[in-house]
Symmetry: C2
Subunit: 568 residues, 2 copies
Amino acid sequence: MAGTSAPSASADASANGSHAAAEAPVGAPTNPMATALLTDQYQFSMAYAYWKAGKHADQAVFDLYFRKNPFGGEFTVFAGLEECVKFIANFRFTEDDISFLQSVMPMCEGAFFDYLREIDCSDVEVYAIPEGSVVFPKVPLIRVEGPVAVVQLLETPFVNLINYASLVTTNAARHRHVAGKSKVLLEFGLRRAQGPDGAISASKYCFMGGFDATSNVLAGNLFGIPLRGTHSHAFVSSYMSLDDIPDKSLKSKDGSRCFHLVPSSYFKFLVGFQVADSLCGVFGETNQSELAAFASYALAFPSNFLALDTYDVMRSGIPNFCAVALALHDLGYKASGIRLDSGDLAYLSIEARKVFCAIEKDFNVPGFGKMIITASNDLNEETIDALNKQGHEVDAFGIGTYLVTCYSQAALGCVFKLVEINSKPRIKLSEDVAKYVSIPCKKRCFRLYGKEGYPLVDIMIRESEPTPKAGERILCRHPFIESKRAYVVPQHVEELLQCYWPGKSNKPRAELPSLEKIRSRCMQQLEKLRPDHIRRLNPTPYKVSVSAKLYDFIHYLWLNEAPVGELQ
Amino acid sequence: MAGTSAPSASADASANGSHAAAEAPVGAPTNPMATALLTDQYQFSMAYAYWKAGKHADQAVFDLYFRKNPFGGEFTVFAGLEECVKFIANFRFTEDDISFLQSVMPMCEGAFFDYLREIDCSDVEVYAIPEGSVVFPKVPLIRVEGPVAVVQLLETPFVNLINYASLVTTNAARHRHVAGKSKVLLEFGLRRAQGPDGAISASKYCFMGGFDATSNVLAGNLFGIPLRGTHSHAFVSSYMSLDDIPDKSLKSKDGSRCFHLVPSSYFKFLVGFQVADSLCGVFGETNQSELAAFASYALAFPSNFLALDTYDVMRSGIPNFCAVALALHDLGYKASGIRLDSGDLAYLSIEARKVFCAIEKDFNVPGFGKMIITASNDLNEETIDALNKQGHEVDAFGIGTYLVTCYSQAALGCVFKLVEINSKPRIKLSEDVAKYVSIPCKKRCFRLYGKEGYPLVDIMIRESEPTPKAGERILCRHPFIESKRAYVVPQHVEELLQCYWPGKSNKPRAELPSLEKIRSRCMQQLEKLRPDHIRRLNPTPYKVSVSAKLYDFIHYLWLNEAPVGELQ
């Protein structure tokens, strides 16, 4: 299969020195299916038409960008870059690929396939904003330069690798924002994502966007993301009663004693519990499957006892949990907490906390009141926001479906547009100016920071223009609307696009940082953003501008390229 | 990496004869990442707790099912089964997997990892409804039997592999239904799916659900799905004018003549075009980039000329296309058609058809009026329905974002519930009866057909009950509501669950059919369904029932298992 050849292709690329870029080897894409065939058929049709017209080596510049922030917000986190760089480092057609292409394009001349056999990305240069950066509409996230036929072949995989990655990272960052810094966020989306790799991508990028851990073991293995999990309802219902546990003995933590875990502690606990909370009066009626399952789980994980409350929480789950937790305590262990997976999470978490605090006091169990309460069950940004407004005692949120499917907006809509060919700037015109007109030219992009350290505006300039400098007065213009303009005197200027794949040039290749570092960058960038850009309700749009020269040039092209009568 | 070992694990499984099932070898999963580590952490926690309690080999029966049809509809297409079977055929932990698990579960005894080293799916049996079948809520799509610890480990990957597959197949089937049988449906979702494998799954399952082709070349290679594509806007804007094409000569189809393709035909055409449609009066003003790109594309694909209209369709795209198409015609070629990607698709398709028909008549070009008109641009079920209501002349729809992301409902919500352990039936109770109570017992499931050949009702029975027979009067009861019941005398009875993985039993293994066959099954099943179940507006729910015996047993368990006061 094509996928399995990726690692060796990678080794070749770095070994044969076909491009100056390969100082440090770039690994294979995470997904072995991210091979050169992973593109749209029309990229091959176009490659052939370019080749037939002798245009395939024309030097093209493409920008990858998006037009609108997702989820009704005013920011996006850029993600997926490392996978794109790995993709081009390994970009080659195998003989099997070529045979397949010949079979589906029998009308093409044989020499075209010889051309495909030869191509790699040694003539391609890739510039990008560092992964994990906060980014905004219209500003190129990636600029790809190189032979037009090759760069077109990269369009689809690049958009594929960036689109969902950036979307789900942004979604995770929004969940982090609404949950607050002190909460633990767990990604539980494996079973709801688009197949194995959708899930692995989701786990990686949710961690990048600020989650603390995942349930996905393979993602933990691939990326070093911390793993979390309790048990399921099935575990509970697989037990009938305590009789299902043949050996209930547990050594105390210090090894000095051995104890039969459950029944004694359960009865001991009952009495105290009635003192603690007179509302929970129905004892002896707790679910026996649940009690047995909790006990069994505690025997397996005495130092990490975390129980899923799945039956009636206050009448069964909490009493059962406390019984087992107290028994563990008597043996020197500390239970971890509970997971609430149904019902009114605000109310139940508050009631559970009351019980835990009462037990801490009544039984003199220091720390029992601080038991971790995890909530799950179809959570999303809105429900966490609603929980915050109601008040709750949840310490950790387990989030799946809404997070990984990006339920409220399932696609970002990245585009990949030609902005220059053979040094001639190109513009895409459209009747809907604000939405579809592209910003022409090979550009440099800068973020201008104000005195308070907040970013003020992003500005795009033509490559030939001088670099904007801190302390200088810079005219920032809206790319399309004449009246929108402002002078900015930045305290600090940051160039956004860095070289991640220098092709045959001698430019140094920017580092591909570890996932942890990208995650930190994301957190830091979000903290640096003015809070009104990031708030959930009516956020302020962050301004994206062009230089006066680029503005004039856009409008010059516009007048000269638009067919008469096309634009109003 | 774990993924790369899958193919060899597969070879082992079929070579060493460790299970009677392996008459014919089952291949590796499509995605090399679908390995045994692709599961939730809590499955390993539970496996350990089962193992500690000596319960790991308890014989469990789990049902995989969903609770509600997606997209506001009343049917679902079951998909993903083949990948599940391939998953279990290759289910094994490698030494790398074990080392990783030891590192993240240091609290577990070493002997547990020896146990994990030994397990595979030779003790597991899998029964399922054939892939591509129309299915309904509550009825098990898959029943998995085997040692509880092993079957639990399968939960997450099975749900992952079924959930999106069934959702997107259903979405595709809905698009097919609204578009009608005569239209060509093209899946263009690669750049909007959840990474490489999300896209590959989308292409596979959209084809299964009734699409005709995909743009995704790798999916074409992996599954033999027909490929389609034109060219992009970037291709158009990479040309400035006809001067960009150094060699415009084209041999006639019969090889007898050679001709310079564009300019002459363009002028010849102009005159006729003014006759054909006086509305399109602005000639000589067509976009020259576009004309050059069309000409270049036609020179490359004279027998497959399909042009993307991206500038003003009526003033530029259609005249340019017709100019090139007529020139091709003069050389004996037949142009394929156009793709409309913006604007009012109903109006533009009708106007384009008028022009094509006028040209057929005025220039005496037989078949020109039948030029294929493809539409794309954020299409979905609703927009196709709206186009149908307005009237249109579109022959083919290219659908991406809304199709592959399942925008209107991004997850199906399959669950995997324990229904029996060590031959003891288990029920999951919930305060929300209709939604969350599971149907206990190892069950057999049947579809009862009426005289007209339509399926009437699905019925679940206990395994010990006699098989329902055609011509017999069968009482079908709603699983939870006492008053809902009906006698049915079926014309034909179909058993739904077949054995796809017999484990150590001697049952014959049902065939895994080709994708084409599964697609045909899906089409046939949808045709057999009563039209009111499938219609978009207020579809009638299809009835799912239980036998009288199973009904009584559910309610017996319910009374005995529910803690007092839990259910109202």
